[in-house]
Symmetry: D2
Amino acid sequence: MSLFERLKAAAPAEWRSYVDHAFVRGMGDGTLPEAAFRTYLVQDYLFLIQFARANALAAYKSRTLADLRAAKDGLSAIVDVELDLHVRLCERWGLSPADIEAAPEHQATVAYTRFVLDCGMSGDLLDLHVALAPCVLGYAEIGRALAPDGVDALDGHPYREWIGEYAGDAYQAVAANASRHLDDLGARYLGPGRFDELAALFGKASRLEADFWQMGLDAAGARR
Amino acid sequence: MSLFERLKAAAPAEWRSYVDHAFVRGMGDGTLPEAAFRTYLVQDYLFLIQFARANALAAYKSRTLADLRAAKDGLSAIVDVELDLHVRLCERWGLSPADIEAAPEHQATVAYTRFVLDCGMSGDLLDLHVALAPCVLGYAEIGRALAPDGVDALDGHPYREWIGEYAGDAYQAVAANASRHLDDLGARYLGPGRFDELAALFGKASRLEADFWQMGLDAAGARR
Amino acid sequence: MSLFERLKAAAPAEWRSYVDHAFVRGMGDGTLPEAAFRTYLVQDYLFLIQFARANALAAYKSRTLADLRAAKDGLSAIVDVELDLHVRLCERWGLSPADIEAAPEHQATVAYTRFVLDCGMSGDLLDLHVALAPCVLGYAEIGRALAPDGVDALDGHPYREWIGEYAGDAYQAVAANASRHLDDLGARYLGPGRFDELAALFGKASRLEADFWQMGLDAAGARR
Amino acid sequence: MSLFERLKAAAPAEWRSYVDHAFVRGMGDGTLPEAAFRTYLVQDYLFLIQFARANALAAYKSRTLADLRAAKDGLSAIVDVELDLHVRLCERWGLSPADIEAAPEHQATVAYTRFVLDCGMSGDLLDLHVALAPCVLGYAEIGRALAPDGVDALDGHPYREWIGEYAGDAYQAVAANASRHLDDLGARYLGPGRFDELAALFGKASRLEADFWQMGLDAAGARR
């Protein structure tokens, strides 16, 4: 069993509150209010900037060239590719770069991003990657779940771009790779008495991700 | 004009949203629901632990023995005195140590504490102390405002212990000292083009403190 | 076998180069040139300041109140007690506080202290304490070795104060406690594939401690 | 006057000990023993890995996308380009990748690299870049000084590759850019009372760079 599977099994309620959140179900069946998605999209851009910093932190914390290169690739992917992709996705939803830059970080964005950065800074590389796992690996799981018949079957779906992005082969490969990296870090740093601490951290991060979805619903006046 | 006064003047809406929050007014006139106060009290204990870490971070970041000793004193005050005081205050409100320890950190607690720690780690000592100022200095200002006729006049007030603590001479002296320390750090580290960045940080921290009060009201089903 | 014993067994050459250094032997038989000891004493004061920062870092990195209190106690012991003791020891060797403050940090001091701080910041609490172990636990071992007939038998020995300090019951208890803390951290954080990395770190820290002794000899024009 | 020029003017002895070190003069007139250069080359590779971490730290500490991108570019340049260049340079001097990887970090390498990382972590972005300036900007100054008649005139010079690299237009542009970045950071973060602290930091870093050259000479049994 992979470390990721063990962590999910140890925090089932928190995990479910996140991957099966009303926001996610609303994306899946297309009933999610557009206002909820737009709020999410802007905050997710602000999230990405902090996520880039988390990858930079991983690079700083690396003790092998392999870890350093992996973290550098993650940082480059965000700064060179994902931020631009996000700007374009925002544009298609009627949000200009000026809209994004003018947006203050929501409490939910501050809470999850700074929690991850603090876990990573106060702990080790394994803590950092466990705190990031709900984001990196959870999005792949959600993407797959929302595209049960494959990405091509999403034609006409109002959230096909988002779902297609995370259900697609490219992101699924990124996630599979991240899961293997987590196992590799676990082999090095997971002492016999540490799993419960990691599981608590993973559960807390999952809950903060659920709060991030909820922020979108709240902004649209929708109910949980 | 002290740096603290300049920061407040630069972020008036955020500052007002915090020091004049409905939670504060409710404490002042005694109408605050007890459930709101109890929720606040437990989260404030969890806050204190992170606040201790912020003082430890200040000690780590110190480059003079004077800064190091000041930060060490702050850390000792929390770990040796304030945590115990807090436990006793909780007990008088019917909250056992077990209640406190069983409580998960609320999103509002995570957001403010980790924001402060991240400001301090990614910035310098001045950033750290500016991010802490709404807490350290704001509580003194709120305490004074809620005891306009002095601490002795609070007899019979349902929140006299809390108000008396922060309106009292001991805490007022701590705050006056912290304000002078901020000015001293400003004299060293406040470059000509930096004030706006610090004011934005201060405003954001004030907003996160306002959210912390709001958490108490939300828990009691009260309205903003 | 304690983790400390395992680490020593895994880096025997580095450990020997440190605990059996010519500087140590010279202290033991009283032949160490006074100039070497004076240089060491001044640099050891500068070392202590960074060592205080390492304890502050441990407090920042703590996730349990027990770890936080232990680190705070360590920090207080240095700032409130050891720095003053050191100033008095320096005075008895003819070194004024002004001499100490005017001294620039030697390369050997920078190398070991910043290595420890970087290990601790980039790694976890276990890394930090392993990097500190040659100092904390090594001094207890050296003290015992240089006082084979007990502290009382040191009467008239030119280095009796230094040896007595570290051979004495108080410091031996500190070291025993630190060794138990290391075992406790190991139980939590020592994954199956991590020992070699820790042993390399321990060996490197031991070598940097040996270089610290050598700095004293070099300053006195003495040979290794 | 640029901040870099001001810093050099404030620490003239330390700066001279570095840019006019016997190792540098020996490279310039071709009399530097090859053994000294080889030792330097291997340690400089280990230095680069820590330098990459310093750039990652700068990315983590960034608060604007512009700072983040600049730090990311710096990290990528080292990990994607410079490390490989260095391996090839080592090969031409008869040093295999295995030789490099087997080499332990010298005390001088540990001292300067960890000092820089600690300055950056305990301070702000300006501290980090000031600590790096002797390396980034100093190599450009040394390169220019050793190629007074231009890079083309170095034909046949035993150290033409090294000198040509740093005297060349590409590196000179990197350095000019880094100097402008330092001025930009200074405009933001250089408070009225901070210059002396920065100058002390700059002087110390310069001295540690001088020690890095000296390590090469010592290894070759050469004299300062």
